[in-house]
Symmetry: C2
Amino acid sequence: MTGPHTDKRQAILDTALDLFCERGFHGTPTSMITREAGVATGTLFHYFRTKEALIETLYLDIKGEMREALYAHIETKDPIRAQIQRICANYIRWGAENPRKFQFMEQFCNAPQISAHAHEEGMAQFTFVHDIVRRGIDEGVLKPHPLGLQFAMFGASTAAVVRLILSRAGREAIDPLMDEAFDLIWDGIAAPAADQ
Amino acid sequence: MTGPHTDKRQAILDTALDLFCERGFHGTPTSMITREAGVATGTLFHYFRTKEALIETLYLDIKGEMREALYAHIETKDPIRAQIQRICANYIRWGAENPRKFQFMEQFCNAPQISAHAHEEGMAQFTFVHDIVRRGIDEGVLKPHPLGLQFAMFGASTAAVVRLILSRAGREAIDPLMDEAFDLIWDGIAAPAADQ
DNA sequence: ATCATAATAGACCGATTAGTCAATCTACCC
DNA sequence: GGGTAGATTGACTAATCGGTCTATTATGAT
């Protein structure tokens, strides 16, 4: 799987991730990507038809990786609270361990440079979170507010915690902050009598 | 205040706001801005020294405007809960009524194209929110979590509500959603006994 | 009427861009 | 060793970019 083939392609993707984060899409010339990656300009366009195709591949790769991370150790049989806590912890840990990829998603998850089709495909990966929230509402564990509202607040709050952790960059352990954050989030979305 | 002077300068700012939102900073040529605004290239560089100066002016203008909106009808003597509800409502209404400006702030509030100095100056406008949250924690009305965590969650949740409203673009009244959203946010950050 | 200053215009310039292309290199099969 | 398909290269191009410059017009004070 790691031949001279995969190496250069991956070097281009890795370099592009860094540069797009730091300088934006149009702010990063393809010539800069290839120079930093140590390949020729032609090599980039051998693997990716256009610059847009490159960022779209990057976007879908990372979104898939993120989905895998969020989904880890989720047991459908567990109570809703435990499942949501798991997702929350998975998200925060993934973000803290992959700051570049987290930053990339924040910057480009609504960017016009990425086709609407890719945005849809990326979103579709997270229906399992939607389903869990819906079940929580149906079972009366979560407040009966609109699903979209609950989902949006849950996602936004968790992302905010990651941002906060990254801005303090390793100056404190993340585990206690993670638990405190879940308490805040849970109290917001859970029905009064149901939080254990 | 509205001479032929202010007109063209404002036309450039208005057009730049739209185009930067739709296409990003580097994705928007100055020539496109001037064409859409109906002025000559020279006129843009008469009012703004560089393209960066243009976006920085836009950024600080909007951030100031936003601060004014958030601060409206805040009475220091009111209870903390009422003040936070007011800010929350002000924010959501401003975002719903100024979708372009809201989108611009989301996209560029951490963008590298805007100087660190301008970012600082922009942030400094919102210390009054910080102060209210701190007072809430001191008085025991809000949970004793770290100020940064409380502040981040409050801001992120409110922004998420605006995003939700904008994505549904006028298909429902915003007032009920606004109240529901505040309930969620408040239950998350408030101390158990203190939500009234 | 005169003059100074600011507003406006758009042709123009050097630098930079995304993407091409013909040529070479590498790896592997027979 | 001969052949083939894919990987790799970097000089090259047509187009576009941010910004300059000079010229012209509008405004207003005296």
